[in-house]
């Protein structure tokens, strides 16, 4: 093997290895049985998440789901209200999209007035539209204290035990073995950053005073609810990440509803907190329904420097006169208690009330970074200055249509590829076999690249794949025709092959680069699914060039080294 062939062999091996490596998660997921997948989801959710993230993704049009282009209407806003209007709208949308329970939503800004929302696998577009269409609601509510929470938890345990008994456990086993002793509250409070308002915690009760210490073995049938909680050492409880869905479901049951006091409800904090023993947990809080201040009366919120620590920020807010009166009464009555700042049903921050705020002008202190302070201000303003949004574009695709399309597309692709392969073998004989190998490499590395770049496969993308099958042999055809020409000029096989590859290379680059220009233009201007087509086409051009000029060249060289009278081409 000469030097250039060795380089070709090495690069081909690397490309093949990388492509297979990138495709491994896709293969793993595709061959995994439903049961195995379910088991893994419970035992090792991180692993399955990783697999899903790295596997080839299907676009909305194939998976089914909803694509929405929302446009904010700022014609009802004053100049100063328009400032961060898109950020506010984005916050509201993001906050609500979480409620749909779709696995990988995409929410992004487009230009200065639009938000694009993609909800893959969404089954109920009506509900999505209703939820997104509502006006945002911001409230400051009182968080119930420990003794009240304890009472509710006890009642919940009782009700769940009495009504469902064994059936509850079957909802799904908790990962229990690592849940050890009650965490030390000093340690369990993570870095102050993870929890807005952390610096305001004073006088939390020590671990020994806890009314409910719950070291957990498994889902305890005698304490079906509290056994799912990690700790209960302040006015809220922590739920370990893997138990969150179960707790959520439990709380929705009628038995749980019956245990709830009329004037309070459970709500989740929107962020995760690190647990001292590893993993993450979500705080669950019992918030008052009757003691609250409406955020609609807020007139402004701005980040400002924290006087105690110059590098960090706090958020100043102002209420109008009506809101100021409410706030004065609310804070005056509840000094020392925690409040939950709730945007559309989710707790965004929970500061403690230090003193009465008489004039509607207050500060949320905390060790916020610039970004955190800005985000909190946006949240406060989002609830106060509702933004009207219009739907400018809406596409929904049912899952059945997507699977039909995949089936038809793949069938067309396979038959097409088969026909092309047969044609190439008949027309170019053994050289056609090499071209077929090249075609296989083209497709494998194309899929590998798609998986690596996280590009989603769309319906036009499938058409692009099928088209690539037809176009990928182009480079080889060009080379083979050249070799035939050279052979006609009575050249030796060796020199005909060299001349064929040498001369055809420049042509190949020129002709493929121009095709790439159109693919890039298409990518630049196209929307979602068409982008998928452009991506597939561009990558297909590059991989087919590689396959023809490097991989097939190598195989060809190895083949013609053997003495032969006539080249089978």
């Amino acid at each position: 093997m000469n030097k250039s062939d060795r380089i070709r062999a090495i690069t081909s091996a690397i490309v093949i290895a990388l492509s297979l490596w990138f495709l491994w998660p896709t293969y793993r997921l595709a061959t995994m049985s439903k049961e195995e997948q379910q088991r893994l989801e419970i035992e090792n959710p991180e692993k399955i998440d990783k697999l899903h993230k790295k596997a080839l993704k299907l676009g909305l049009d194939l998976k089914g789901g909803m694509h929405l282009t929302l446009e904010i209407d700022d014609s009802q806003l004053k100049a100063d209200e328009k400032r961060d209007v898109l950020d506010r709208a984005l916050e509201i949308v993001r906050n609500r999209v979480d409620q749909f329970g779709v696995s990988e939503p995409t929410i992004q800004k487009e230009g200065t007035k639009r938000i694009i929302v993609q909800l893959p696998g969404l089954t109920d577009p009506d509900r999505a539209k209703r939820l997104l269409g509502q006006t945002a609601m911001l409230e400051w509510r009182l968080i119930r204290q420990q003794d009240e929470v304890a009472g509710v938890l006890r009642k919940l345990d009782e009700n769940m035990r009495r009504v469902s008994g064994d059936s509850l456990v079957e909802i799904g086993p908790a990962k229990a073995d690592t849940l050890g002793a009650v965490p030390d509250p000093a340690k369990s409070a993570p870095a102050a950053k993870a929890m807005p308002g952390e610096s305001l915690f004073a006088g939390t009760k020590g671990a020994d005073e806890l009314p409910l210490n719950v070291p957990l073995e498994t889902v305890d049938k005698t304490k079906p609810f509290t056994s799912l909680l990690v700790s209960f050492n302040r006015d809220w409880v922590l739920v370990r990440e893997e138990n969150v869905p179960l707790v959520r479901r439990m709380l929705m049951r009628p038995e749980a509803q019956a245990a709830m006091p009329k004037d309070s409800e459970f709500m989740w904090f929107d962020e995760w907190m690190n647990l001292p023993e590893g993993g993450r947990g979500k705080p669950l809080m019992l918030v008052a329904k009757d003691e609250y201040v409406s955020g609609a009366n807020l007139v402004g919120a701005e980040p400002q420097p924290n006087p105690q620590s110059p590098t960090q920020r706090s958020v100043a807010f102002t209420f109008n006169r009506k809101g100021g009166r409410e706030l004065a009464r609310f804070t005056g009555d509840n000094v020392g208690r925690f409040t939950a700042i709730i945007l559309d049903g989710k707790i965004k921050s929970f500061p403690v009330i230090k003193s009465k705020i008489p004039d509607g002008r207050g500060v949320i202190e905390g060790n916020f970074t610039d970004v955190e302070a800005r985000d909190l201000a946006i949240i406060l303003r989002a609830g106060a200055l509702p933004v009207t949004m219009f739907t400018r574009e809406e596409r929904t695709v049912g899952p059945s249509l997507g699977s039909d399309s995949i089936r038809q597309g793949l069938r067309a692709g396979l038959f097409g590829a088969g026909a092309v392969v047969i044609f190439m073998m008949v027309y170019y004989q053994l050289a056609g076999v090499i071209a077929t190998l090249g075609l296989v490499l083209t497709m494998v590395s194309l899929f590998g690249c798609l998986a690596y770049f996280g590009a989603a496969l769309t319906l036009p993308g499938i058409a692009g794949l099928v088209l690539t099958v037809g176009m990928a042999v182009d480079a080889n055809v060009l080379i083979y025709e050249r070799i035939r020409e050279e052979l006609r000029r009575e050249k030796t096989i060796r020199s005909a092959v060299d001349a064929g590859y040498g001369r055809a290379f420049v042509t190949n680059v020129d002709s493929n680069l121009t095709t790439l220009i159109t693919a890039i233009a298409l990518w630049q201007f196209g929307t979602g699914p068409i982008k998928g087509f452009a991506t597939t086409l561009s990558i297909g051009i590059l991989t087919s060039m590689f396959a023809a000029c490097v991989f097939c060249r190598l195989v060809f060289d190895l083949w013609v080294r053997r003495p032969m009278k006539k080249l089978s081409i």
Binding site: S75, E393, E394, R395, S400, G416, I462, G470, T507, F525
Partner: protein, 393 residues
């Protein structure tokens, strides 16, 4: 196996006939488009609503039609999808906002200034005009017992979340408002669904796809599609004139424009819809056709050094003939897959595959008959001018 051994076809000599044939097809396409009032555009470009419904059993298209008529969509286009008669695509283009806008405005007025007997006198929809940066609006004139002070009124409405672009008090009892487009087309899909469910009580109805595009987004997509085509043609012009010569680049781009015009022309003649996906096909054709053209040009460049003594036309002819086999073979392989897409790929890719098929044929034809012929025309003009200039000097 070999289809073409050594050909010696006079492609260049055929060029005037080729120009006439191409010209006729392009003109026929343009005439068809003009007589039909423009190209038939998909919902994406036009703005409007598309709903694809599947019934659990076949239903008559007439029943679907009468159900739509009852819902007030007499102009809806109904298309059977698949062969079973259980699936239909319903398209409603260019939804009028005015009714919806009237309700919306009245609601806002009654909230801000109750008890004044507001009525809407007239409405007018102003379509978006992107070139002027106008986003579209609805103009409404209203009447009431008495019109309150207009600035205070609009301020109160804005506080309630009703967007108003402009408000003027025309008389003591009349005022006119300009409000933003509210996206009425999103309501259409829901209304349609409800109506079908009501009219086919014994059938299970599955909504397999809905598409709702506002007029502004549609206009934007149109201009994006144009931009994509123009940018790629321009990119090719620059690249080819860098790698070859300007006259080659111009010949190539003109033959590409030819491919696009022929394809959209045939789309108009066959009454097919141009969608975003079809535009993608057009660009792929552009990319594919240039591929063929470049291979020929490349051979011309190579032969230019080798066959100095031959005439320009002769050399071009030889180059086209030498690459003919390759041109045809690559077309065959792509043609094979396009045929499979056309007949097996399902309804959704059918228009795409149709465009690809036309494009493949016209793209190959233009690479062989048009692109180099244009270069010859250009070259002859230069030589003629030189000849004309010489005796004078």
């Amino acid at each position: 196996m070999e289809f073409f051994h050594k050909t010696n076809i006079d492609f260049i000599g055929f060029r005037y006939k080729a120009f006439i044939i191409s010209g006729l097809i392009i003109v026929a396409g343009l005439v068809s488009a003009i007589s039909k009032g423009g190209y038939k555009l998909s919902v994406e470009f036009k703005g409007g609503t598309l709903v694809q419904v599947k019934f659990d059993e076949a239903v008559l298209i007439a029943d679907v039609r009468s159900s739509l008529n009852r819902a007030g969509y007499a102009t809806a286009e109904i298309q059977q999808y698949g062969e079973n008669g259980d699936e239909y695509i319903i398209k409603i283009g260019g939804v009028e906002e005015t009714n919806y806008a009237s309700e919306h405005l009245l609601e806002g007025l009654n909230k801000a200034a109750p008890g004044l007997q507001w009525t809407v006198l007239s409405t007018e929809q102003l379509p978006p005009d992107l070139s002027k940066g106008f986003e579209g609006a609805t103009m409404l004139s209203v009447e009431a017992d008495s019109i309150p002070e207009i600035e205070g009124l609009t301020a109160r409405m804005k506080e309630n979340g009703y967007g108003i672009l402009e408000a003027t008090k025309t008389t003591s009892k009349q005022a006119s408002f300009r409000i933003p487009l509210l996206g009425a087309e999103t309501k259409v899909a829901d209304a349609l669904k409800a109506e079908l469910v009501k009219d086919f009580p014994e059938r299970t109805i599955e909504i397999r796809r809905t598409e709702t595009i506002g007029p502004k987004v549609g206009k934007e997509l149109q201009s994006k599609a144009w931009a994509a085509i123009i940018v790629s043609l321009f990119g090719i012009l620059v690249y080819v004139s860098w790698r070859f010569e300007l006259k080659f680049a111009v010949g190539a781009v003109l033959s590409l424009a030819h491919d696009v015009l022929v394809t959209v022309g045939l789309f108009s003649i066959f009454n097919r819809e141009i969608s975003l996906f079809v535009v993608a096909a057009l660009l792929t054709i552009v990319g594919y056709s240039i591929n063929d053209t470049i291979v020929v040009y490349d051979r011309i460049r190579e032969n230019f050094g080798l066959r100095r003594r031959e005439s320009y036309e002769g050399m071009l002819n030889v180059s086209i003939n030498e690459t003919l086999s390759r041109t045809i073979i690559t077309v065959i392989t792509v043609f094979i897959v396009t045929m499979f897409l056309l007949f097996m790929g399902g309804e959704f890719v059918r228009d795409f595959a149709f465009a690809m098929t036309i494009g493949l044929v016209t793209g190959t034809y233009s690479s062989v008959f048009v692109a180099s012929a244009l270069v010859v025309e250009w070259q002859n003009r230069i030589t003629n001018r030189r000849k004309a200039a010489r005796p004078a000097a």
